[in-house]
Protein backbone atom coordinates (compact mmCIF):
# COMPACT_ATOMS: atom_id res chain seq x y z
CA UNK A 1 0.00 0.00 0.00
CA UNK A 2 2.83 2.35 0.94
CA UNK A 3 4.74 1.48 -2.19
CA UNK A 4 1.76 2.08 -4.43
CA UNK A 5 1.11 5.43 -2.76
CA UNK A 6 4.75 6.38 -3.29
CA UNK A 7 4.57 5.43 -6.97
CA UNK A 8 1.35 7.36 -7.34
CA UNK A 9 2.96 10.41 -5.80
CA UNK A 10 5.96 10.15 -8.11
CA UNK A 11 3.62 9.85 -11.07
CA UNK A 12 1.71 12.96 -10.03
CA UNK A 13 4.96 14.88 -9.59
CA UNK A 14 6.12 13.81 -13.04
CA UNK A 15 2.84 14.94 -14.62
CA UNK A 16 3.12 18.30 -12.89
CA UNK A 17 6.69 18.71 -14.09
CA UNK A 18 5.73 17.92 -17.68
CA UNK A 19 2.79 20.32 -17.51
CA UNK A 20 4.99 23.07 -16.09
CA UNK A 21 7.57 22.49 -18.82
CA UNK A 22 4.94 22.77 -21.54
CA UNK A 23 3.60 25.97 -19.99
CA UNK A 24 7.12 27.39 -19.91
CA UNK A 25 7.63 26.54 -23.58
CA UNK A 26 4.33 28.09 -24.61
CA UNK A 27 4.85 31.21 -22.50
CA UNK A 28 8.35 31.55 -23.95
CA UNK A 29 6.93 31.45 -27.46
CA UNK A 30 4.32 34.04 -26.65
CA UNK A 31 6.79 36.35 -24.93
CA UNK A 32 9.00 36.41 -28.02
CA UNK A 33 6.16 38.02 -29.96
CA UNK A 34 6.31 41.59 -28.76
CA UNK A 35 3.23 43.73 -28.71
CA UNK A 36 2.67 45.30 -32.09
CA UNK A 37 3.34 48.97 -32.55
CA UNK A 38 0.23 51.04 -32.83
CA UNK A 39 0.60 51.48 -36.56
CA UNK A 40 1.84 48.00 -37.42
CA UNK A 41 -1.36 45.98 -37.51
CA UNK A 42 -3.59 48.55 -39.03
CA UNK A 43 -4.74 48.18 -42.58
CA UNK A 44 -2.38 49.92 -44.91
CA UNK A 45 -4.32 51.83 -47.48
CA UNK A 46 -3.52 54.71 -49.72
CA UNK A 47 -4.35 58.15 -48.41
CA UNK A 48 -7.04 59.90 -50.41
CA UNK A 49 -4.52 62.16 -52.09
CA UNK A 50 -2.72 59.17 -53.56
CA UNK A 51 -5.62 57.06 -54.77
CA UNK A 52 -4.33 57.33 -58.30
CA UNK A 53 -1.03 55.75 -57.43
CA UNK A 54 -0.13 52.37 -58.81
CA UNK A 55 0.04 50.44 -55.57
CA UNK A 56 -2.12 49.82 -52.58
CA UNK A 57 -2.07 47.29 -49.81
CA UNK A 58 -4.76 45.75 -47.68
CA UNK A 59 -4.57 43.21 -44.91
CA UNK A 60 -6.68 40.24 -45.78
CA UNK A 61 -6.53 38.22 -42.61
CA UNK A 62 -6.82 39.38 -39.01
CA UNK A 63 -3.47 39.67 -37.32
CA UNK A 64 -3.19 37.43 -34.30
CA UNK A 65 0.50 38.04 -33.71
CA UNK A 66 2.93 40.76 -34.60
CA UNK A 67 6.15 40.26 -36.45
CA UNK A 68 9.30 41.24 -34.64
CA UNK A 69 11.46 43.98 -36.01
CA UNK A 70 14.60 42.45 -34.53
CA UNK A 71 16.97 40.59 -36.77
CA UNK A 72 16.65 39.40 -40.36
CA UNK A 73 13.57 37.55 -41.49
CA UNK A 74 12.44 35.90 -44.70
CA UNK A 75 9.09 36.63 -46.31
CA UNK A 76 7.45 34.72 -49.13
CA UNK A 77 5.68 36.55 -51.94
CA UNK A 78 3.47 34.47 -54.22
CA UNK A 79 1.32 35.06 -57.29
CA UNK A 80 3.99 37.09 -59.07
CA UNK A 81 3.44 37.36 -62.84
CA UNK A 82 5.81 35.07 -64.78
CA UNK A 83 7.21 37.90 -66.86
CA UNK A 84 8.38 39.88 -63.85
CA UNK A 85 12.05 40.17 -62.97
CA UNK A 86 13.57 40.84 -59.57
CA UNK A 87 13.80 44.52 -60.44
CA UNK A 88 10.12 44.64 -61.32
CA UNK A 89 9.24 43.12 -57.97
CA UNK A 90 11.47 45.47 -56.00
CA UNK A 91 10.09 48.48 -57.86
CA UNK A 92 6.57 47.36 -57.03
CA UNK A 93 7.43 46.91 -53.37
CA UNK A 94 8.92 50.39 -53.26
CA UNK A 95 5.47 51.76 -54.03
CA UNK A 96 3.96 50.34 -50.84
CA UNK A 97 2.34 52.99 -48.69
CA UNK A 98 3.83 53.97 -46.32
CA UNK A 99 7.02 53.91 -48.41
CA UNK A 100 9.34 50.97 -47.96
CA UNK A 101 12.38 53.08 -48.80
CA UNK A 102 15.70 51.30 -49.00
CA UNK A 103 15.70 47.51 -49.34
CA UNK A 104 18.55 46.04 -47.36
CA UNK A 105 17.74 42.42 -48.10
CA UNK A 106 18.02 39.80 -50.80
CA UNK A 107 15.38 38.85 -53.35
CA UNK A 108 15.19 35.37 -54.90
CA UNK A 109 12.68 34.64 -57.64
CA UNK A 110 11.63 31.10 -58.55
CA UNK A 111 8.88 29.47 -60.61
CA UNK A 112 5.89 28.54 -58.46
CA UNK A 113 5.56 24.89 -57.44
CA UNK A 114 1.94 24.28 -58.37
CA UNK A 115 1.25 27.04 -60.84
CA UNK A 116 3.14 27.46 -64.08
CA UNK A 117 1.68 30.91 -64.63
CA UNK A 118 3.21 32.61 -61.61
CA UNK A 119 6.41 32.99 -59.65
CA UNK A 120 7.33 32.92 -55.98
CA UNK A 121 9.83 35.27 -54.38
CA UNK A 122 11.76 34.91 -51.15
CA UNK A 123 12.53 38.26 -49.60
CA UNK A 124 15.20 38.28 -46.90
CA UNK A 125 15.03 41.55 -45.00
CA UNK A 126 17.41 42.73 -42.32
CA UNK A 127 15.05 45.44 -41.14
CA UNK A 128 11.33 45.37 -41.73
CA UNK A 129 9.43 48.20 -43.31
CA UNK A 130 6.12 49.01 -41.68
CA UNK A 131 4.11 46.87 -44.06
CA UNK A 132 6.10 43.74 -43.19
CA UNK A 133 5.97 44.40 -39.46
CA UNK A 134 2.25 43.72 -39.51
CA UNK A 135 2.66 40.22 -40.90
CA UNK A 136 2.36 37.80 -38.02
CA UNK A 137 3.55 34.18 -37.94
CA UNK A 138 0.24 32.86 -39.26
CA UNK A 139 -0.84 35.85 -41.31
CA UNK A 140 -1.04 36.42 -45.02
CA UNK A 141 -1.23 39.92 -46.43
CA UNK A 142 -2.26 40.85 -49.92
CA UNK A 143 -0.72 43.58 -52.02
CA UNK A 144 -2.53 45.03 -54.99
CA UNK A 145 0.12 46.38 -57.32
CA UNK A 146 0.08 47.59 -60.87
CA UNK A 147 1.50 45.31 -63.54
CA UNK A 148 4.81 46.67 -64.70
CA UNK A 149 4.57 48.11 -68.18
CA UNK A 150 0.81 47.63 -68.30
CA UNK A 151 -2.03 50.07 -68.26
CA UNK A 152 -3.37 51.41 -64.99
CA UNK A 153 -6.24 48.93 -65.12
CA UNK A 154 -3.93 45.93 -64.98
CA UNK A 155 -3.29 45.02 -61.36
CA UNK A 156 -1.84 42.01 -59.63
CA UNK A 157 -2.71 40.72 -56.18
CA UNK A 158 0.47 39.55 -54.48
CA UNK A 159 0.34 37.44 -51.33
CA UNK A 160 2.96 38.02 -48.64
CA UNK A 161 3.55 35.72 -45.67
CA UNK A 162 6.28 34.42 -43.41
CA UNK A 163 4.74 31.11 -42.39
CA UNK A 164 5.73 29.27 -45.57
CA UNK A 165 2.82 26.87 -45.39
CA UNK A 166 2.44 24.46 -48.32
CA UNK A 167 5.15 24.02 -50.95
CA UNK A 168 7.79 26.70 -51.47
CA UNK A 169 10.27 26.57 -54.37
CA UNK A 170 13.90 27.04 -53.40
CA UNK A 171 15.65 26.95 -56.76
CA UNK A 172 15.07 27.31 -60.47
CA UNK A 173 15.67 23.88 -62.00
CA UNK A 174 16.46 23.19 -65.61
CA UNK A 175 14.55 20.71 -67.71
CA UNK A 176 11.49 18.62 -66.96
CA UNK A 177 10.84 17.13 -63.55
CA UNK A 178 10.21 13.40 -63.76
CA UNK A 179 9.92 12.26 -60.13
CA UNK A 180 9.60 13.45 -56.57
CA UNK A 181 11.61 12.38 -53.56
CA UNK A 182 9.95 13.33 -50.32
CA UNK A 183 11.84 13.06 -47.09
CA UNK A 184 10.78 14.33 -43.73
CA UNK A 185 13.10 14.67 -40.82
CA UNK A 186 12.32 14.82 -37.14
CA UNK A 187 15.51 16.79 -36.60
CA UNK A 188 17.39 19.11 -38.89
CA UNK A 189 20.51 17.33 -40.04
CA UNK A 190 23.76 19.07 -40.81
CA UNK A 191 24.10 17.68 -44.31
CA UNK A 192 21.98 15.19 -46.15
CA UNK A 193 22.50 13.70 -49.54
CA UNK A 194 19.79 11.67 -51.22
CA UNK A 195 20.86 8.92 -53.57
CA UNK A 196 18.79 9.05 -56.73
CA UNK A 197 19.30 5.67 -58.33
Amino acid sequence: MTLSSLLLGILVLLCCAILALQLLIISGRISTHQAPPANATQNIALPPSEQGSSCSAVQSLPSTHSASNLGPKCFRITNIPPEWSKDDLVESLREIQPPVGHFDGLVSLYPACCDTTSQTALLNLKTFPEFFQGIGPDDTKHLKVQCRGQSLDETVLLSVDSHFYDLTPLNKPEGEIVAELVYSFAMVPDWIYADVL
Partner: protein, 114 residues
Protein backbone atom coordinates in the same frame (compact mmCIF):
# COMPACT_ATOMS: atom_id res chain seq x y z
CA UNK B 1 26.80 15.68 -58.39
CA UNK B 2 23.57 14.97 -60.22
CA UNK B 3 23.54 16.23 -63.76
CA UNK B 4 21.43 13.80 -65.77
CA UNK B 5 18.46 13.19 -63.47
CA UNK B 6 15.49 15.47 -63.08
CA UNK B 7 13.89 15.03 -59.72
CA UNK B 8 12.24 17.02 -57.00
CA UNK B 9 13.50 17.13 -53.43
CA UNK B 10 10.86 18.11 -50.92
CA UNK B 11 12.09 18.91 -47.43
CA UNK B 12 9.58 18.43 -44.64
CA UNK B 13 10.45 19.65 -41.17
CA UNK B 14 9.42 17.92 -38.00
CA UNK B 15 6.49 18.92 -35.83
CA UNK B 16 6.44 22.59 -34.84
CA UNK B 17 9.20 23.31 -37.33
CA UNK B 18 9.36 26.07 -39.92
CA UNK B 19 9.59 25.33 -43.62
CA UNK B 20 12.32 27.95 -44.10
CA UNK B 21 13.73 28.86 -40.71
CA UNK B 22 14.41 25.28 -39.64
CA UNK B 23 16.85 24.89 -42.51
CA UNK B 24 18.68 28.17 -42.00
CA UNK B 25 21.82 28.82 -40.03
CA UNK B 26 21.16 31.23 -37.20
CA UNK B 27 24.57 32.82 -37.48
CA UNK B 28 25.23 33.19 -41.18
CA UNK B 29 21.51 33.33 -42.06
CA UNK B 30 22.21 31.04 -45.01
CA UNK B 31 19.68 28.38 -45.87
CA UNK B 32 21.32 25.24 -47.13
CA UNK B 33 18.37 24.03 -49.21
CA UNK B 34 18.47 27.34 -51.08
CA UNK B 35 22.09 28.44 -50.91
CA UNK B 36 24.10 25.20 -51.06
CA UNK B 37 22.04 22.24 -52.25
CA UNK B 38 21.35 23.65 -55.76
CA UNK B 39 25.10 23.77 -56.36
CA UNK B 40 25.28 19.97 -56.11
CA UNK B 41 21.94 19.19 -57.80
CA UNK B 42 21.68 21.04 -61.08
CA UNK B 43 18.55 19.52 -62.54
CA UNK B 44 16.64 18.95 -59.35
CA UNK B 45 13.73 21.01 -58.19
CA UNK B 46 14.10 21.77 -54.51
CA UNK B 47 11.06 22.60 -52.45
CA UNK B 48 10.18 22.93 -48.82
CA UNK B 49 6.83 21.98 -47.32
CA UNK B 50 5.39 23.85 -44.37
CA UNK B 51 2.45 23.01 -42.17
CA UNK B 52 1.01 24.52 -39.01
CA UNK B 53 1.74 22.18 -36.12
CA UNK B 54 2.90 24.65 -33.49
CA UNK B 55 1.91 24.01 -29.88
CA UNK B 56 -0.02 27.25 -29.54
CA UNK B 57 -1.93 26.72 -32.75
CA UNK B 58 -5.71 26.75 -32.72
CA UNK B 59 -5.82 24.33 -35.63
CA UNK B 60 -7.38 20.89 -35.18
CA UNK B 61 -5.45 19.46 -38.10
CA UNK B 62 -3.93 16.06 -37.47
CA UNK B 63 -1.03 14.14 -38.94
CA UNK B 64 -3.31 12.37 -41.38
CA UNK B 65 -4.53 15.73 -42.66
CA UNK B 66 -0.95 16.95 -43.06
CA UNK B 67 -0.09 13.82 -45.02
CA UNK B 68 -3.10 14.11 -47.31
CA UNK B 69 -2.44 17.77 -47.91
CA UNK B 70 1.21 17.17 -48.73
CA UNK B 71 0.31 14.44 -51.20
CA UNK B 72 -2.27 16.72 -52.78
CA UNK B 73 0.31 19.48 -53.06
CA UNK B 74 2.72 17.08 -54.72
CA UNK B 75 0.10 16.00 -57.20
CA UNK B 76 -0.48 19.65 -58.04
CA UNK B 77 3.24 20.20 -58.44
CA UNK B 78 3.65 17.39 -60.93
CA UNK B 79 3.41 19.43 -64.06
CA UNK B 80 5.31 17.52 -66.69
CA UNK B 81 3.65 14.86 -68.83
CA UNK B 82 6.15 12.23 -67.70
CA UNK B 83 5.47 12.94 -64.08
CA UNK B 84 1.71 12.98 -64.48
CA UNK B 85 1.81 9.43 -65.80
CA UNK B 86 3.76 8.17 -62.78
CA UNK B 87 1.89 7.04 -59.65
CA UNK B 88 2.59 8.75 -56.38
CA UNK B 89 2.65 5.48 -54.47
CA UNK B 90 6.31 5.57 -53.51
CA UNK B 91 6.26 9.16 -52.38
CA UNK B 92 3.10 8.61 -50.39
CA UNK B 93 4.57 5.60 -48.66
CA UNK B 94 7.71 7.49 -47.71
CA UNK B 95 5.76 10.42 -46.37
CA UNK B 96 3.58 8.14 -44.29
CA UNK B 97 6.48 6.24 -42.82
CA UNK B 98 8.44 9.33 -41.91
CA UNK B 99 5.62 11.27 -40.36
CA UNK B 100 4.68 8.25 -38.29
CA UNK B 101 8.20 8.10 -36.96
CA UNK B 102 9.50 5.05 -38.78
CA UNK B 103 12.98 4.82 -40.17
CA UNK B 104 13.79 6.87 -43.28
CA UNK B 105 13.94 5.28 -46.74
CA UNK B 106 16.97 3.20 -47.54
CA UNK B 107 18.17 5.51 -50.28
CA UNK B 108 19.07 8.26 -47.82
CA UNK B 109 22.65 8.76 -46.72
CA UNK B 110 23.30 10.61 -43.50
CA UNK B 111 26.60 12.21 -44.30
CA UNK B 112 29.09 13.58 -41.83
CA UNK B 113 29.04 17.35 -41.31
CA UNK B 114 31.55 19.22 -43.41
Amino acid sequence: MLTSCNHSIVAVTGLAGHAYGSWRNRGSRQMWLQDFLPQDFNNVRIMSYGYNSSLDSDSNTGLLDFRRHLVQQLENARSSNEVCELPLKNSTTQVTENIEGKKPPLNIHWAQPR
